[in-house]
Amino acid sequence: MKLSRQQVEHVAWLARLGLSEAEIEKFAVELSNILENFEILNQVDTADVPPATHAVPLQSVFREDQSSPSYPQSDVLANAPKKEESCFKVKPVLE
């Protein structure tokens, strides 16, 4: 399966990645190769195999509903590029 230019651009947009012209060409080939390999895997008959969603043999891991202290506000905001009113400051968001 060959990915179209538009598909590459769309995937890049979804991941908020800015790709140069050369990169779009390059990834169209590379991503297509990956998909081709999955097409080979697709030939295996998996009719009787339930779909796997996790690779680690763990299940039903819970914690009890107990609260414990959070981090100090100054630590929470320590890495914020911009802050104001004890909040993270970001570009305006249209509601």
Binding site: H10, W13, L14, R16, T53, H54, A55, V56, L58, Q59, S60, V61, F62, R63, E64, D65, Q66, S67, S68, S70, Y71, Q73, V76, L77, E84, E85, S86, C87, F88, K89, V90, K91, P92, V93, L94, E95
Partner: protein, 478 residues
């Protein structure tokens, strides 16, 4: 052409757990300063590991069972990927194709008819951060991020704004009975989005679906859906076409306004959350939760009618909140079943009136069931009159004092002594010669007026039956 409205509702309810969905930050954030209920997990720092709050899953199972959903043996969480500043990790942990509850239903009353609305699913996810808009920029408070959020999705089977409102009220009542959510729309712990479209009456085909957001009260949901179903008809009548879009409800202007939709907004690329192992439910656990479910509003309503002979109207209002129904039944534990209707009258009448007037809840009332029953006993024994009981009740409501103490202190005992009443009646008649003349001239209302004057003179303590007897005697004939 004749159109019919088709509505589906998505309701998000914050769950009343102590800690967040995937970390142990406290959920008690409403009055907290910004970013004080935050840790690396709910802040979405790379390398952190979420762990599922068992209580949140239990609450979701309770709700799913109450809505008659099927609980599958296997469920899992998925990542919903999108970029928005309210989402710290750039994905929300939610459930995609294996929700905790599937295929339930909720009975509503529409114009006196019962109607079942099918529930597509009940699933669990995490709430997102809160955005504060400052015009030139926005601020992010992460306290809300990670609060357990339960989403209930209905099938598009609701046919009017009235039905939508009834569905919401019913759903909220159930959540409150279960104790899993406060159900408060005003503070955002209970939120509703709607999908609404119209179609030619009787047809199966749906026209373009509009998603309505920003409805922050029951009234707003009702008004927005009413407005939108009219607007869509009008667009078609005027020869226009409907487009699939998101519209926001503007509370002050009472209109919906098209919101610029995010491009590719629905391309969420869900995939299984690798950090959370899947859940396999032990049947015994589900059965144990089922056994612990409280009696639900619909069943309780039926029982109150059967057990106490209450009218549908009384039973519906009494069971509209679990606290009210509990109060009612706690009273009846202290007195005989034949007092049910009288207690219901008090609860639906003066009690509700005072609760509304003071914007308070029956949970916090100063009048315990024992105090109310004591008051009713005083009326029964003839110690106080009906009108006095109302006045005493009001005093009890504000002070929490015992009825017998208020009566003793205020000299409010019912005045039944004929000699004493005789004197008062004579005095009132002498002072109201015109009313007496009117009565003798055949005006029956004059008697009501005179009775009122006597009650006033005795501060409502006069025994009405004795007063009437004396009046009739004094005025000659009846």
């Amino acid at each position: 052409m004749n159109y019919e409205t088709v509505i589906g509702l998505e309701v998000h309810a914050q769950l009343l757990t102590r800690s967040k969905m995937f970390c142990s930050c406290s959920t008690d954030y409403v009055n907290a300063p910004p970013n004080t209920h935050v840790c690396p997990i709910c802040l979405g720092m790379p390398g952190t590991l979420p762990v599922i709050n068992k209580k949140a899953v239990e609450y979701t199972i309770m709700t799913a069972l109450a809505l008659e959903c099927t609980i599958p043996e296997y469920t899992k969480f998925d990542r919903k990927n999108y970029f928005y500043p309210d989402m710290m990790k750039n994905y929300q942990i939610s459930q995609y194709d294996a929700p905790i509850g599937k295929g339930g239903c909720l009975a509503i009353n529409s114009n006196g008819h019962q109607k079942k609305i099918n529930i597509t699913r009940v699933h669990l996810e995490e709430d997102v951060a809160k955005l504060l808009h400052r015009g030139e920029y926005s601020l992010v408070d992460v306290n809300r991020s990670g609060i357990p959020l339960m989403e209930t999705v209905s099938e598009p089977e609701i046919s009017s704004a009235e039905e939508a409102r009834d569905y919401l009220i019913k759903l909220r009542t159930i959540l409150r009975y279960l104790g899993v959510s406060t159900g408060n729309m005003e503070d955002g712990s209970f939120r509703c989005d709607a999908n609404i479209s119209i179609r030619p009456a009787g047809s199966k085909e749906l026209l373009s679906k509009v998603e309505v957001k920003n409805m922050n009260s029951f009234k707003a949901v009702y008004q927005a859906l009413k407005y939108e179903s009219k607007r869509q008809r009008k667009v078609l009548e005027e020869g226009g076409t409907l487009v699939q879009e998101t519209r926001g409800w503007m509370d002050e202007k009472e209109v919906t306004v098209s919101q610029r939709s995010k491009e590719y907004a629905d391309d969420y690329r869900y995939f299984p959350e690798p950090d959370l192992p899947p859940l396999f439910f032990d049947r015994a656990w589900i059965e144990e939760i089922k056994a612990r479910l409280p009696e639900l509003p619909e069943a309780r309503k039926e029982r109150l009618m059967a057990q106490y002979g209450l009218p549908l109207y009384d039973a519906s209002i009494l069971t509209s909140s679990r606290a009210m129904a509990d109060y009612f039944e706690n009273c009846l534990k202290l007195t005989s079943p034949d007092k049910a209707k009288i207690i219901s009258n008090w609860l639906l009448g003066d009690f509700s009136r005072l609760l509304n007037a003071t914007d308070s809840d029956i949970e916090n009332t100063r009048i315990s069931p024992g105090l109310l029953v004591e008051l009713l006993n005083l009326v029964d024994k003839g110690t106080i009159s009906g009108p006095t009981a109302k006045a005493v009740f009001e005093k009890m409501f504000y002070t929490g004092k015992k009825a017998s103490d208020i009566v003793a202190k205020g000299k409010l005992s019912q005045l039944s002594d004929a000699t004493e009443l005789n004197g008062i009646v004579k005095q009132v008649l002498a002072n109201n010669a015109k009313a007496v003349a009117d009565y003798k001239a055949g005006k029956q209302q004059a008697l009501t007026f005179l009775t009122g004057q006597i009650m006033k003179a005795t501060r409502g303590t006069a025994n009405p039956a004795v007063v009437r007897e004396i009046l009739v005697h004094e005025l000659g004939g009846g």
